[in-house]
Structures are given as structure tokens and as C-alpha cells.
């Protein structure tokens, strides 16, 4: 993928008029998807996709065109035709006062060869380990590629092959243990151990479920649940544009009016993430950007557009200025002691369908899911009938945050609507003094 992209870039840059600057961004994948129901194959296939984004800049006028590449001889002529179309668009658009372009070329190359076996082998190992169970979900295997090239000289490439297993083993109805595993190297015994551990916990889910009344309860949110929560609140909490325009859920903190718990320290940790350090248009992300330090705002995520608009430096954030590799630092509660520390309350393994009730105040709602249990005196008693929580960020990560566990877990994003994603979340578990349940 790297060679094809760079060759195409060289071809397109050749003969470019001096008045034109051309930037290219490439997203590519060759992914095997195997979907399971009842520990059998429901759908299986391969997707090979290469998308080239062209941005033509002439002075302060610019436009973009995205094109799917075939990987054959037609790519050059189609890309040239795209460039001609861009010229006709740029000729009629006004200047953009918020255009910011990288000025100092910063090249990079990070291409790792795949060590993964064929996806059929991974799938067969999984199905063998899960035989007789009700395994549901998807296995994704294969490389992703990101590339950037600028007619001013910059070249960046990134390629990495990985596998990601997002599955559940169901006991019955909506009760299941998750089996989620991801990595760059496949280890059959590790996968088998994960499956075996999940299967060993299924009997708990067969106990009669407990139905709670709405109210406030002590709760422990496992790392996967915290990852879901962070995925929502990091959407705008650290956005320069959202802060400036006043629609940020942590606005009171950014205004110095109230703060989260001192236990909360959050970074945008690009160096520890799963994706490249360069953004779509050639800006570099810092290795680590501290967004919250002991509950107090520090840096913001600044897109190139916001940088130009507000006269600040860009952090290479994407257009939405949301996190891409967020890290919530661990605390001091030993994970093995979490249930004992909880005492009596909810053990929440996963959260589902989170959304803002009122983003201005950071009020969030969502549902419990999968292996969420009722706990008494530190012991799991019964699986919980799903409940809705409806609570504010200044409680959940503020006044009601009793402790964070001492180890973070990596949760790669599973959302691949626009293709394979490199978004990730590293979070500990969180013990809350109280969580408001609504229905």
C-alpha cells in the first residue's frame, strides 16, 4: 500500500503549477470480517478498500475530493481527472480565512510487517474454543494504512496489521460475558484462555435476575464501561471550538467555576495509541497532551481550523476535536479489591447507548448491559435487569468518584462505519459512591 501511494503522489505532483499546492491523504485496509452467531459463521468476507483524499489549495481557496482507488492502471487517470475537477471547484469558491497549512515538512514512516496468520486460522481457533456455546460477534483481521503527501515535500506513512475480536458468549436473553481481545500478534492459547474464562462465569448469569427500583446506588464501572463513558464525554469536553462557542460539557471547568475530582487526570496519548501521529492534512500530534490534571483543565484539542480562527497553535486534532487515544490515569484501588470496596451495589461490566441529556451541564444517560450484576457485601449475588443511569459528569467524575483502580485496560473502538478505525481508550475501573438510576 505504501509504495502504490507514494508512486501515485509523485505522479500527481509532477507538473503541478506553482500556484497550486496539492495534499493527499490515503486511508486503506484489507480486512477480513468473520461474523458469528451461536458459535457458527453467520457472514464472512474480505474488504479491500483504498480511499485517496485530494486537497487542492490555491492561495486561500481550497476544496477536497475523495476517490476510491482500484489498485490498477486506471488510478492515475482517475486521480488526474479528480484533480481537474478540483481546479474547477477552487476557481469559484471564496477564500477561507480559517485555512491553516503545515509549513515545515516533517516526514515519518512507520510500517510494520504483519505477523498474523490467515484469518481462517484465527477463526477456527476461536470456534474450537467456543464450541457448544452461544458466541456472537465479529473477528476483524488485517492491515490498515494511512498516508499523507504534500507537494511541498512532506511524506508520512503508517501501516500496521492487527486482529480485533469483539464477541459475547450468551447465557440467555440479554445476559452475556464479553470476549474482547485485540493485538498485533495472535496467540492461540491466550485466546482460548479468554474464552474459557468467559464460559466459566456464565453460571452467574443464569441466576434469577434482580430488578432494581430507580434511585441512587453505589456502583463500580469496569474499564469497558468507563471506556464507553469517556467515548461520549470526550466528544466535546476538550474541544477548542466547543469551549469558545459554549457548547462544551465541561464548560464550567474551562471557565474556572467548578472542577472534577482530583483523581481524574486525562491525556490525549498519541504515542500510546493505535494510529499514526500525523493527521489527515500533515499536522503532527504531540506524543502526549494533558487535557485534565487532577480534575482541572489543561490543554485543549485544537484543529488546524480552530488554530487559524482563534490564533493559537494546532495540536493536530481532527475536525471534531475529539480524542483519538485517550488515557485516564489509574488510581490506587487494586482491581482485585474492587468488589470488596464496592460492598453493596452495582457491578457494571458494560454501558450501552450513551447520550447527553443536557450537554451544557454534562448530564449523560445510558444503559447497563451484558454481565452487569448486583453485589452484596463484596460478592456477586445476581445478574441485574438492565437499568438506565441518568447522571451528571460533575458527580460521576466529581463528587461521587470514590476511587479508580490501579490498572488501565485498552479498549480499541469497535466503530468501523467509515472503515477500520484506530481510535482507542485506556481506562481503569471507577468506584462511585452513588449513581442515579432512572428506569
Amino acid at each position: 500500500m505504501q509504495r502504490r501511494f507514494l508512486d501515485l503522489a509523485d505522479h500527481l505532483f509532477t507538473g503541478l503549477p506553482d500556484a497550486d499546492r496539492l495534499q493527499l491523504h490515503c486511508r486503506a485496509e484489507r480486512s477480513d470480517f468473520i461474523r458469528y452467531t451461536q458459535a457458527a459463521v453467520r457472514q464472512a468476507g474480505t474488504v479491500a478498500h483504498t480511499r485517496l483524499s485530494l486537497r487542492l489549495i490555491r492561495g486561500r481557496r481550497h476544496a477536497t475530493l475523495d476517490l476510491d482507488l482500484a489498485g490498477d492502471a486506471t488510478d492515475r487517470s482517475r486521480a488526474q481527472a479528480a484533480l481537474e475537477e478540483l481546479r474547477s471547484i477552487v476557481a469559484v469558491v471564496p477564500e477561507d480565512p480559517h485555512l491553516l497549512l503545515p509549513e515545515q515538512p516533517l516526514d515519518s514512516e512507520h510500517c510494520e510487517p504483519s505477523t498474523l496468520p490467515d484469518a481462517t486460522e484465527i477463526s477456527s481457533t476461536l470456534l474450537d474454543a467456543a464450541a457448544g456455546s452461544d458466541l456472537v460477534g465479529v473477528l476483524t483481521v488485517g492491515p490498515v494504512f494511512r498516508g499523507f503527501a504534500d507537494s511541498m515535500g512532506q511524506r508520512n506513512t503508517f501501516e500496521r496489521a492487527s486482529f480485533q475480536l469483539s464477541t459475547s458468549i450468551f447465557a440467555h436473553t440479554d445476559k452475556a460475558e464479553k470476549v474482547d481481545l485485540a493485538g498485533l500478534h495472535f496467540d492461540g492459547p491466550v485466546l482460548r484462555a479468554h474464552v474459557a474464562q468467559a464460559r466459566s462465569r456464565l453460571p452467574l448469569l443464569h441466576r434469577p435476575q434482580k430488578v432494581l427500583e430507580p434511585g441512587s446506588y453505589r456502583a463500580y464501572l469496569a474499564p469497558a464501561a468507563m471506556a464507553a463513558y469517556l467515548q461520549l464525554v470526550s466528544r466535546d469536553s476538550f474541544s477548542k471550538s466547543a469551549v469558545e462557542k459554549g457548547y462544551c460539557s465541561l464548560l464550567p471547568s474551562h471557565r474556572g467555576e467548578r472542577f472534577l475530582s482530583e483523581r481524574v487526570t486525562v491525556h490525549e496519548d498519541a504515542a500510546g495509541g493505535l494510529g499514526p501521529r500525523f493527521d489527515s492534512w500533515g499536522f503532527q500530534r504531540p506524543a502526549r497532551l494533558t487535557l485534565l490534571q487532577e480534575g482541572r483543565p489543561q490543554a485543549l484539542l485544537v484543529s488546524p481550523k480552530s488554530a487559524a480562527e482563534y490564533g493559537v497553535a494546532t495540536t493536530g486534532a481532527g475536525a471534531w476535536e475529539s480524542t483519538e487515544s485517550v488515557l485516564l490515569e489509574p488510581g490506587e484501588l487494586a482491581e482485585a479489591d474492587a468488589l470488596a470496596a464496592l460492598g453493596t451495589g452495582l457491578y457494571i461490566s458494560n454501558l450501552h447507548y450513551l447520550n447527553y441529556v443536557d450537554s451544557s451541564s454534562g448530564r449523560v444517560t445510558g444503559m447497563t448491559r451484558f454481565a452487569t450484576h448486583w453485589v452484596e457485601h463484596g460478592e456477586i449475588v445476581a445478574p441485574l435487569a438492565v437499568m438506565r443511569f441518568d447522571d451528571g459528569i460533575y458527580r460521576m467524575l466529581g463528587s461521587e468518584l470514590e476511587a479508580l483502580t490501579d490498572r488501565v485496560e485498552l479498549t480499541p473502538s469497535v466503530y468501523d462505519y467509515d472503515g477500520r478505525t484506530t481510535l482507542s481508550f485506556r481506562t481503569p475501573g471507577a468506584l462511585l459512591r452513588s449513581l442515579r438510576l432512572a428506569l
Binding site: A40, Q43, V47, L65, P97, G392
Partner: protein
């Protein structure tokens, strides 16, 4: 391409299909009067499916040469063998009908008939009222999607569809007296099939005046009160209610368990078909791919099954579910032609298409007049529902109190929660045909790997009784 050329590209197999998709998407957007860089997308490729020995596999490629399709077919065959070696019980792949069909969106004023400069000018004219307004943010967008799909099957089927969609958006944020911001917008469901005439039909060119007035009202409005109240939902809030609380629960592949790891399951079981009183006798819901201009109208689904109108809920009784031919065969239930994929890069699965509440006999004024103490909600703001599609919580941008049969003051952040199992039985009023609006969103997400498709929800305003209502923080 033609069937013969494709046949020559295929490896030995029991059946094959090739679905080629070309999508041209254009977007123009004004951000507080500044034109964002116009974007264009040329998306094209094909998905090859191979059936061999009882298993099915797929492979998607942008290489549309005979050799590229052959390579994809070979990979699909590998997956067919893998599936055959690990077969799902009850999965009998139905034959695709050897039929042909053709469909094309009627566009009175084609998108490409207006120049880029003309479309930019139209956006600028439509947003003049916003230029000097005291707003934290405003954005106006015109998006066009032009999709051509060709499906060939080994049985000799051939289906051609040319679908044009217009997706307009206007969104305003104002600073609220109570802190933070309030939002007023055209909504996320104003998409439709057609050309630029859609903009006139929905009043796009003049809507900014109303939205500006309403966001100012919201900025100083009190929060919606809490209580058990009557709830009148406008068509643009009914769209999300139908979508989350009828559409997704009725998807047959959820009942069969396929979505449990991601999008979820459903409280609806096959045994409920024909027996479950989903709603009051006023509730009539149709799956209707034949509505001119509705966003998800088509002639056949992505397996080539002819698309027909069917009633799913008849006088409140559940009579049919949303499942294509494969799910129908697995479940032994009748369904509809709804097996669709978002792009050439995703395999088809059971989806909603146009899912509509049929009109009743009440005018909007009639419905308001029935309310002693309630709230009228317009334009969806937030949505959340459990993984069985039962416990939901939604909110809207704009609310108005209703007391003693008359509209009252504006309220901010009106929300409500309920359970799908019972909610629709509280339906006590349905607007008439004149009050019905076509709504459509391109953002219905589901599937592993994930995919987003367009769905339509036409509805009149509807009145519900004794609903748990609340406000913001």
C-alpha cells in the same frame, strides 16, 4: 458488465452475485457565513458473493476488471468454504429470483443542473437572517448523494437502481440565560429523494427566520417541568420514536440473535407476530418502499427481492416483521424485501427502509385541544434505548406546554422516557393526512462490521397519554 462476462469470471460455485455501486456525494457548508471547503466523494466498487457447499462468502473490491472480480470471487469462495465448515443451524441460503427491475428517483430539478456557484449563493441567501444574529454557532449544509447500484445474479437476475438523495441541514446554537447553549435546527431527518425541488418542499430557503426566533425563545425559556403528562410529538420527533421503538425491535435478524453483540437484541419474539398488541387501535405502521420522494424508496432490495408495501402493525396488532428472504427462511415467518447494504464494502442485512405511521383523522389543532396538561415536542435532540429496544429516553429541541387544550409557553430540554412494550398502547390521537410529513435520515447504524443506511419515517403528529416527562439539568 453483463451476466455472461461475470459468469466467466467466477470460480466453480453453486451461485454467485455481483453488486456494483457507484456513489457521488457532494457537500457544501456555511459555518457562520464562511464557506467550508466543498467536498466531493467518488465511491465505487463491487461486492462478489459466492455460495459453495452450503456456505456463503463475500469479497469487496474497487478493482472492477475481470481479473479484479475473479480475485474477489476466489477470496469469497475461501470464505464460503469456511462458512460451510462451521455452518449456522437453520441457515439455508434462499435462491435469488431470476427477475429484473429498474428504479430511478424522479428529480424535477436535478442537483447537477445548478452550478456550484449557484448552490453556494442559495445557501448564502437562505442564511441572511443569521448573519448578524447573536448566535454562538450556526451551520447550514446542502448534501447530495447520487447512487447507482447494479445487481447481477447467477440465476439471471439484474437490478438497476439510480437513487438521488438531498440532505439539507440548518443548525443554530445560542447562549442560554441559564448557562451553556441551546440548539434549534431543521433536524437530522429532513433527507429525501429528489432534486433541488426538495428544498422548496421543506421550506429550506426561509426556515432560518423561524429557527432564529425559536432559538431566542429557548435561550430564555424555563426547563421543561417534570411530571406524568400527555405528550404530543411532532413528525420530526415521531421519526426517532418510530425508528428506535418500532423499527429496530421488529428487525428479524435481531430476533434470530445476529446483532446481540453490537446493536442488540429485541423484546419482540417470533411468537408475538399475530398475537401481540403493540399499540392502541390507532396505530397502523407500514413498510413502504413505494412512496415517491421518501428517502428509502426502491424497487428491489440488495438480494433482488421485489419491494412491496406491507402493513407491519394493523390497528395496533403486530402482523409482520422486518426480515428479508434469508431471515424469513431461518425464522419461518413472512417478512419484507429489506435486505440492504450501506455500500459495496458491506454485506446486506435486515434493515428498515421507509417505516411509516399511517395518518388518522385528527388535525393538529384537534390533538392540542384534547390535552388538559401536556407538552408538545418538536425536533429530536437526544436518544438512548436499551439493547432489547424496550427502555428508552428521548429529548427534543423545542417544547411547548399545553394546558386546557391550548399551546402555552416554550420550554427548554423537554425529555421523556418509557418502555416500548407499553408506550404505543398509550397512543390516543393520530394526525390526519394533511399533518403528515416525510422524514428521512441517512444515519441508521447497525451490523458487524458497522454500516449506516438511509431510512424514512413518514408520520403525522401523535398524542400519547400519561408519559414520564422531564427537563434538563
Amino acid at each position: 458488465m453483463n451476466t455472461q462476462i461475470l459468469q466467466e469470471s467466477m470460480p466453480p460455485c453453486d451461485r454467485w452475485t455481483v453488486r456494483e455501486v457507484h456513489l457521488r456525494e457532494e457537500e457544501i457548508s456555511l459555518d457562520r457565513g464562511v464557506l467550508r471547503a466543498p467536498s466531493t466523494t467518488l465511491d465505487r466498487g463491487a461486492m462478489v458473493t459466492i455460495e459453495r457447499g452450503g456456505g456463503e462468502g463475500y469479497a469487496a473490491t474497487s478493482d472492477l476488471t475481470p481479473s479484479g472480480l475473479r480475485a474477489a470471487a476466489d477470496r469469497a469462495a475461501t470464505w464460503a468454504e469456511h462458512a460451510a465448515a462451521h455452518p449456522l443451524a437453520g441457515l439455508t441460503l434462499p435462491a435469488s429470483p431470476a427477475t429484473t427491475s429498474s428504479y430511478a428517483t424522479a428529480a424535477e430539478v436535478p442537483w447537477e443542473g445548478e452550478s456550484l456557484a449557484g448552490k453556494i449563493e442559495r445557501l448564502q441567501q437562505a442564511t441572511i437572517p443569521l448573519r448578524d444574529a447573536d448566535l454562538a454557532l450556526w451551520v447550514a449544509t446542502l448534501q447530495n448523494r447520487d447512487t447507482t447500484t447494479e445487481l447481477w445474479t447467477s440465476e439471471g437476475g439484474h437490478h438497476h437502481q439510480h437513487i438521488r438523495q438531498i440532505l439539507p441541514a440548518v443548525m443554530l446554537f445560542a447562549n442560554a440565560d441559564s448557562g451553556g447553549t441551546v440548539r434549534r435546527s431543521l433536524g437530522r431527518s429532513r433527507g429525501a429523494q429528489g432534486g433541488l425541488e426538495v428544498l422548496e418542499a421543506i421550506g429550506f430557503d426561509t426556515v432560518a427566520v423561524r429557527l432564529l426566533d425559536e432559538v431566542k425563545q429557548l435561550a430564555c425559556a424555563p426547563s421543561c417541568p417534570e411530571g406524568t403528562l400527555d405528550l404530543l410529538l411532532a413528525p420530526d420527533q415521531m421519526a426517532i420514536q418510530i425508528h428506535e421503538s418500532i423499527g429496530h425491535p421488529l428487525e428479524l435478524d435481531r430476533m434470530l440473535g445476529d446483532e446481540r453483540n453490537f446493536a442488540g437484541t429485541t423484546f419482540v419474539t417470533p411468537e408475538m407476530v399475530g398475537t401481540f398488541q403493540y399499540g392502541s387501535e390507532l396505530l397502523n405502521v407500514t413498510f413502504d418502499p413505494t412512496v415517491p420522494g421518501e428517502i428509502a424508496s426502491y424497487a428491489s432490495d440488495d438480494l433482488g427481492t421485489p419491494a412491496e408495501r406491507h402493513r407491519l402493525i394493523d390497528k395496533g396488532l403486530l402482523v409482520r416483521v422486518l426480515g428479508g428472504t434469508l431471515s424469513q427462511a431461518r425464522a419461518g415467518l413472512p417478512g419484507v424485501a429489506c435486505t440492504r447494504a450501506s455500500t459495496w464494502r458491506r454485506p446486506p442485512i435486515d434493515r428498515m427502509a421507509n417505516l411509516n405511521v399511517e395518518p388518522g383523522t385528527s388535525t393538529l389543532e384537534d390533538l392540542i385541544a384534547q390535552v388538559e396538561d401536556g407538552v408538545y415536542l418538536q425536533t429530536n435532540l437526544s436518544w438512548s434505548i436499551d439493547d432489547s429496544r424496550d427502555k428508552f429516553q428521548f429529548s427534543a429541541e423545542f417544547g411547548r406546554r399545553i394546558r386546557h387544550g391550548a399551546l402555552g409557553e416554550v420550554v427548554r430540554n423537554p425529555g421523556y422516557r418509557g418502555r416500548s412494550k407499553a408506550f404505543w398502547r398509550g397512543l390516543k390521537g393520530v394526525g390526519d393526512a394533511a399533518s403528515r410529513e416525510l422524514h428521512g435520515t441517512p444515519y441508521c447504524g447497525k451490523g458487524e462490521p458497522n454500516q449506516i443506511v438511509s431510512v424514512g419515517h413518514a408520520s403525522p403528529p401523535c398524542l400519547f397519554t400519561d408519559i414520564d416527562v422531564f427537563g434538563g439539568a
